[in-house]
Amino acid sequence: MTRIEEFVKEQADIHGRERSSLMPVLQAVVQSERFLSEDAMVAIATELDLSTADVYGTASFYTFLDTVPRGKNIIRVCKTITCHMKGKDAIIATLEEMLKIKLGDTTSDGKFSLLQANCLGWCHKGPVMLVNDEIFPEITPEKAVEVVREYLKKTK
């Protein structure tokens, strides 16, 4: 068994092998690997007795279930109206320059992906960004850089 097959089996043991277990299993793989590789989706399909196309079809519907490789840390800057008004463009420009990547890309060392997200639900404290599951409200370009530096230290 490969590492990912073992991981998927573990998750299926926890969440079950019903169709309704599919989302929790997909989410667990993304939580651990940051995206769903082809191998992971095949392993899930085998474990839950579904077709691989069905697993891919479900996964590709959801923004947070990435099927393309992502960095160890995923930065999502909120792009929706209030955050737009309060300056999300400056945050993105600063992070693009700092990480030397364009929006939507992943750094060559695989440590960060920089994405935009639709409304994150912090409109009164915009602009906001989500790094993995951690939320940073009322950020400025300077604060955003600080946050990314902290993550850089934590990421091997």
Binding site: R19, M23, T58, F64, N118, C119, G121, L130
Partner: protein, 385 residues
């Protein structure tokens, strides 16, 4: 000046949630439901279906297995009140679910939490475990589970949410059958917004009278508002329903408010000249709580463009009116702005948005016309020039 905005404190009021449940468990399902019907409470997620009736329909279904779902897939741009409620009074949300369970005869409850709020999960899991034990200690058969979304706005639509929980793409189902008959895993399901469940609990606590004394005939009670945009007082406020938009802007505006988007991106944009006659409630403009204020420095083209980009990305793509309509509305206003299309093309786009309202399968496609037409009708020149 008389303050016409009345602040209320029901949702965040500290109460002994277990005492309310103990009292309620001694009553019959019908008594609980009648109180909710009597209070006039309508769903606080945006659609506004009478909660008591929803519970009654759920109760009337014959089934061995029924479910309660708490819809915490709060994704409407400009709305953040459910996050605040779950953060501050999670016990009240859980208790509201148990109350609904008692009313309709369900033994399992699910919270469907949007992925953007995953940071709440550790706390919610802890509260859930504690609550499940408390229910067990009372010999009341009701267990709560937490499920996560994965970043799809359309999953806030009740049947799409159930599809997602069942492990499918979050594509809305045809209605009828409604979830009260055929919901999660095909079983009768009562799905309620976070805030609605807490109000139901507070009605069980204080009785329906205090609730229906607040608000207006069609919009009883109070509502938690998410206020953002060009305002010095952005945040969460529980206010009595039925205020005029003018009074609202006098309280929350920055003195230069040119428009208010009521009900989030899928709601209506009201221009200053209509503030006075616009009532916030089901008789006027209903809202799931989102109130976004825009001052005169804002371009209404940019605002509409943002909304359309949002809908174009979040449309599930299942039905053509919404999938193609959202794209064409977005492309259309871009073409008019650039001068590639004549300003009269906006009339064609407005007709398209009407078609989307009639022909789309779910609320997403049906409501894109709300912001589109209200912005075009009020600020046509800003879209063109």
């Amino acid at each position: 000046m008389e303050n016409k905005i009345k602040k209320v404190d029901l949702i965040f009021e500290k109460v002994d949630h277990l005492a309310i449940l103990d009292k309620s468990f001694k009553r019959t399902s019908d008594e609980i439901i009648l109180d909710v019907i009597d209070s006039g409470l309508r769903g606080r997620g945006g659609a506004g279906f009478p909660t008591g009736l929803k519970w009654k329909f759920g109760k009337n279904e014959e089934s061995d297995q029924k479910y309660v779902i708490c819809n915490a897939d709060e994704g409407e741009p400009g709305t953040f009140k459910d996050r605040e409620i779950l953060t501050n009074v999670p016990e009240k949300v859980l208790s509201g679910m148990a109350l609904c369970g008692k009313a309709i005869g369900a033994t399992e409850g699910y919270i469907y939490l949007r992925a953007e709020y995953n940071f709440l999960l550790p706390m919610l899991h802890e509260k859930m475990k504690e609550f499940n034990k408390q229910m067990k200690d009372r010999n009341f058969e009701f267990t709560v589970f937490v499920r996560s979304g994965s970043g799809a706005y359309v999953c806030g639509e009740e049947t799409a949410l159930m599809e997602s929980m069942e492990g499918h793409r979050g594509e809305p189902r045809n209605k009828p059958p409604f979830p009260t008959q055929h919901g999660y895993l095909g079983q009768p399901t009562s799905i309620n917004n976070v805030e609605t469940l807490v109000f139901a609990l507070m009605i069980a606590n204080h009785g329906p009278k205090m609730f229906k004394e607040l608000g207006t005939f069609d919009s009883r009670g109070s509502k938690v508002f998410s206020i953002s945009g060009d305002t010095p007082k952005a945040g969460i406020y529980e206010l009595e329903l039925g205020m005029s938009l003018e009074d609202f802007v006098n309280e929350f505006g920055d003195g230069d408010t040119k428009a208010v988007q009521v009900g989030g991106a899928s709601g209506f944009c009201v221009a200053r000249k209509h503030f006075k006659e616009t009532l916030i409630g089901f008789e006027g403009i209903p809202t799931g709580g989102s109130m976004m204020l825009f001052n005169s420095s804002r371009s209404m083209f940019n605002i509409l463009h943002d909304y359309l980009e949002f809908f174009e990305e979040e449309s599930c793509g299942q039905c053509s009116p919404c999938r193609i309509g959202c794209q064409q509305l977005l492309k259309g206003i871009e073409a008019v702005k650039k001068g590639a299309k004549s300003p009269l093309y906006l009339n064609e786009l407005q007709k398209l948005s009407e078609t989307m309202k009639i022909a789309s399968k779910c609320g997403l496609g049906q409501s894109v016309g709300n912001p589109f037409n209200s912005i075009i009708n009020n600020f046509r020149e800003e879209i063109i020039y």
